[in-house]
Amino acid sequence: MTTAAVETARKPATMAQALGRALRDAMAEDPAVHVLGEDVGTLGGVFRITDGLAKEFGDHRCTDTPLAEAGILGTAVGMAMYGLRPVVEMQFDAFAYPAFEQLISHVSRMRNRTRGALPMPITVRVPYGGGIGGVEHHSDSSEAYYMATPGLHVVTPATVADAYGMLREAIASDDPVVFLEPKRLYWSKADWSADRPEPVAPIGRAVVRRPATGQGSPVSLITYGPSLPVCMEAAEAARAEGWDLEVVDLRSLVPFDDETVCASVRRTGRALVVHESPGFGGPGGEIAARITERCFHHLEAPVLRVAGFDIPYPPPMVERHHLPGVDRVLDAVARLQWESEWTEGSAD
């Protein structure tokens, strides 16, 4: 096929479409893959991610369950014990909390407690994060809770290609994967072909989305999920200030890719972690500590964090004040330069 033909095959697709296609392809390829959750069948999910699956595969493979998250995940455990690969949908981030006990007490540790006899190939899809004008309990960023539980993989795509590739990998994984879907990126588009999906990096690898150019004062922005577009925009805007921002998309919070992150920080000497979940006890603290432990002698400034405020997720009319935006990121980048004159001076 010519390059031109490949290009014509690519059309704008949304992240939601790529996720739906990943579910469809996984179900078509492996009859053990079952989708279950509230409204996933006839309705196709409140975000339409599962649209058409019940029709194509039957409602015994894409099942509308009773409204009970612990029951959904708990029955998925039993299904996995019998050799199936359940993909469960937690309709909204804060609706997943009733299922926490099943996730923490069973899903995450069944392999360990049975010394490998009962793997849990379960994918838990959690639409998460704010920015869509949702009312209370529809915009939480719960990743820190999941990260704190050994036995779970915690991943979050930020691009259309990753949404497809990472969901396919999550479903194929013999381990439980908490698959966090940044719901405000559901409608983000990219040129993408479902019939020729581009290969993506495996789960566990971070990707440098925007390398430093060598023009200007370098800083690494370490981010993931819904904050990636914010950081990409900030990086463009920063050029005018003479800053050279390198943007690292973590993609996977567990396992954590120290290698890619530290390689970037060693190149730039400055690091800023950006996420929208609350900062205190949040992922940024762990990431900053890891960078400090591994790259201290390369750092020219303390690792800074730009995160959501330490408040319950605010009502939609004021959520823009809570969510880290481009300006807040640029302010932090400016603060990262605080020592540079002194450092340069003392080095002479």
């Binding site: 009859p31 053990a32 708990g74 998925a76 039993g78 050799g83 099943q102 036995g151 396992p255």
Partner: protein
């Protein structure tokens, strides 16, 4: 080889249409617990079955006594005894076919042993020697579950999956009276009924959730009545009558296997020992109550039946006790060996493949262990 790696085409088939049950009357339990032993109905019971039940009851009582003694010797970290509840344990295990699955709670070690587990293996969790000493798929016994009622939705999911696969497998899930207050109990029963999953729920109502009596646990007329609200039959049975528990569970298992959906069985019994060896039961229950229940002991009930029908003599009873003693002796010997645990196994089976973080931590522990052993050699 894991279940997932097993070859052969899996083609999930849709289960038969889910149907609502409109008439609650057939779902309601009998007003009084079903009893067989000591009643005219017992005459129809298979002598071979009664004798097998009796032997297992005697062995089970000895097992409970031995495990409790092992806690006093520090060989077990804790033991939640099922003394007094042996009829439920024995019947639950004996009613299942090999292909069926048992989902025990932490108190149901004995059921797992009757199902075929090595008596010492079944105590792995309670000994503190890893969390689970057997391959659940080998015996089709899920790991002993410590959080309350959380194993019930697992049973539903497994039974549902088996039916999708076209297998006539039944899951039997055990829970205590306290566990019926948990949300997972409700969700499991609701899912099972909506999906018409081949599951049997056995509630062992032993009177107390640690110290809280049933009257403070529920206002329902009986725990079996709860079934009606979900649209499944509820059965009430004398939990000390091994023959009755076996029969009621047997009917429920048969119905589930034939596609008739789930059943909730409440077995009314009594825990003669404390909640665990760490509990002081005298703080919350009276001696008179114990005396009354001792007069309704599951072993005595069965012994009286067997003797009344000339199905057992002194020699037969002595043989049962001797077999139990052999089991106890072997168990003691096994438990007196200090278990050898490999610390490096801490990092195994957290994930299919170790993460970079775990590889680093494993290297750290390896270095610490090497340093320790060098210290020891000096």
């Amino acid at each position: 080889m894991t279940v997932l790696e097993q070859p052969g085409a899996y083609r999930p088939t849709p289960p038969p249409a889910w149907r609502p049950r409109l008439d609650p009357a057939p779902l309601l339990p009998d007003p009084e617990p079903v009893r067989l032993l000591g009643t005219p109905a017992a005459a129809d019971l298979d002598p071979g079955l009664l004798t097998r039940l009796y032997r297992e009851l005697v062995r089970g009582r000895r097992y409970n006594a031995q495990a409790t003694a092992l806690t006093k010797q520090g060989r077990l970290a804790v033991y939640p005894s099922s003394t007094g509840q042996e009829a439920c344990q024995v019947a639950a295990a004996m009613v299942l076919e090999e292909r069926d699955w048992l989902f025990p709670s932490y108190r149901d070690t004995l059921a797992a042993v009757v199902r075929g587990l090595d008596p010492a293996q079944a105590l792995t969790l309670l000994r503190g020697d890893w969390h689970n000493g057997y391959d659940p798929r080998e015996y089709r016994v899920a790991p002993l579950c410590t959080p309350l009622a959380t194993q019930l939705p697992h049973a539903v999911g497994l039974a549902h999956a088996a039916r999708l696969k076209g297998d006539d497998v039944v899951a039997l899930a055990m829970v205590g009276d306290g566990g019926t207050s948990e949300g997972d109990f409700h969700e499991a029963l609701n899912f099972a009924a909506v999906w018409q999953a081949p599951v049997v729920f056995l509630v062992q109502n032993n009177g107390f959730a640690i110290s809280v009596p049933l009257a403070k646990q529920t206002a329902a007329p009986s725990l079996a009545h709860k079934a009606v609200g979900y649209g499944m039959p509820g059965r009430l049975v004398d939990g000390n009558d091994a023959a009755a528990v076996h029969q009621v569970l047997g009917e429920a298992v048969r119905r589930a296997r034939e596609g008739g959906g789930p059943t909730l069985v409440e077995a009314v019994t009594y825990r003669l020992d404390a909640h665990t060896n760490a509990d002081d039961a005298t703080r919350y229950r009276a001696e008179e109550e114990l005396t009354a229940w001792r007069a309704h002991d599951p072993i005595d009930l069965m012994e009286a039946e067997l003797k009344g029908r000339d199905l057992i003599d002194e020699d037969g009873m002595a043989a049962a006790r001797e077999a139990a003693e052999d089991m106890a002796r072997a168990l003691r010997d096994r438990m007196n060996d200090d278990p050898v645990l490999e610390p490096m196994e801490l990092f195994e089976h957290v994930y299919a493949e170790k993460t970079g973080q775990l590889r680093e931590q494993a290297a750290q522990l390896r270095a610490e262990l090497d340093a320790e052993s060098q210290e020891g050699e000096r």
